[in-house]
């Protein structure tokens, strides 16, 4: 089960502003009208059950649907961000991965994901 804190971290890490930069707390505070302290409390996990108004303001700032906060796994949140184009412009290569990957069965996707995780590990070492 993904936490609200992680959902917000994913938003902050991946949704970019008009200059293709990650948004700062100050920017989000300006866009939402929420105080920087309130945003910090959400981001550091001190507030785990915000109210509808707060969520609505965050959705407007990040241009996402409230549905995002209804997903209960990280994969589902990532799916939403990729599906609605919130993770930047896809390169031709990434586009091919997305479209060709769609032809794989669920088991094959999991296998590719396992290989990818192994590859990521190799890249770090």
């Amino acid at each position: 089960m993904i936490t609200l804190q992680r959902q917000l971290q994913l938003l902050w890490e991946n949704v970019l502003d008009d200059n293709s930069d990650p948004m700062t707390i100050t920017q989000v505070a300006q866009k939402t009208g929420l105080s920087q302290q309130s945003l910090s409390n959400l981001l550091n996990g001190h507030v785990t059950d915000p109210r509808l108004n707060t969520l609505t303001k965050l959705c407007m700032a990040f241009d996402i649907s409230l549905d995002y906060f209804g997903y209960d796994t990280e994969a589902a949140c990532l799916h939403y961000l990729v599906e609605y184009g919130k993770v930047g412009i896809l390169s031709p290569q990434l586009h091919s991965i997305h479209t060709e990957g769609d032809t794989l069965t669920a088991d094959e996707k999991r296998n590719v994901l396992a290989i990818l995780q192994w590859r990521l590990w190799g890249t770090k070492s």
Binding site: L52, L66, R119
Partner: protein, 160 residues
């Protein structure tokens, strides 16, 4: 769009109570919903009368789960929009989870590593095709931008 464009929470809840029916065909009572969500009857009543205007996420999730609606229901701007959303069949938004996790994680890789992943996807597709045609051997594993042996050496034997 601003928050004031949305229907009030009470209006949204009241549409839910009028549109979603119990399996027996009758309208849901506050008691039914309370039992199914864990939200107190008094709280539900205050929501319907508009005394509670700004519920918490956990409450919204419980209502969504009980009434089988997406959270975006609480972003509706008109009663018609509410009804339209309630008529849509529930969808499994997570069925592409693995694919999108692949696409998402790949964004953090170098172009060479991204090409490797594409090569691997194509290899899996070929292997699947061969299997469906009755073949019992896998196609040779493609050479990647970074030698497989190099990666194996660095990582020991804990490869998938």
């Amino acid at each position: 769009m601003t928050e004031s464009d949305f229907l009030t929470f009470a209006e949204q809840i009241n549409v839910l109570f009028s549109a979603r029916m119990h399996t027996t065909g009758r309208a849901y009572t506050l008691h039914d919903v309370s039992e199914g969500t864990g939200i107190a009857v008094a709280t539900l009543s205050q929501m319907r009368t508009g005394r509670i205007k700004n519920p918490q996420l956990s409450t919204l999730r419980a209502l969504c789960s009980f009434f089988q609606i997406p959270l975006r229901y609480f972003e509706t701007r008109t009663v018609e929009e509410c009804f339209a959303l309630l008529q849509q069949p529930a969808t499994d938004d997570t069925k592409l989870g693995e694919l999108n996790e692949i696409a998402f994680r790949v964004t953090h890789l170098s172009p060479e590593a991204q090409q490797d992943i594409l090569t691997i996807i194509r290899w899996v597709q070929t292997a699947e095709q061969r299997y469906k045609q009755g073949g019992d051997t896998l196609p040779p594993f493609p050479r990647l931008s970074r030698s497989n042996d190099d990666v194996n050496e660095e990582q020991g034997d804990d490869t998938p």
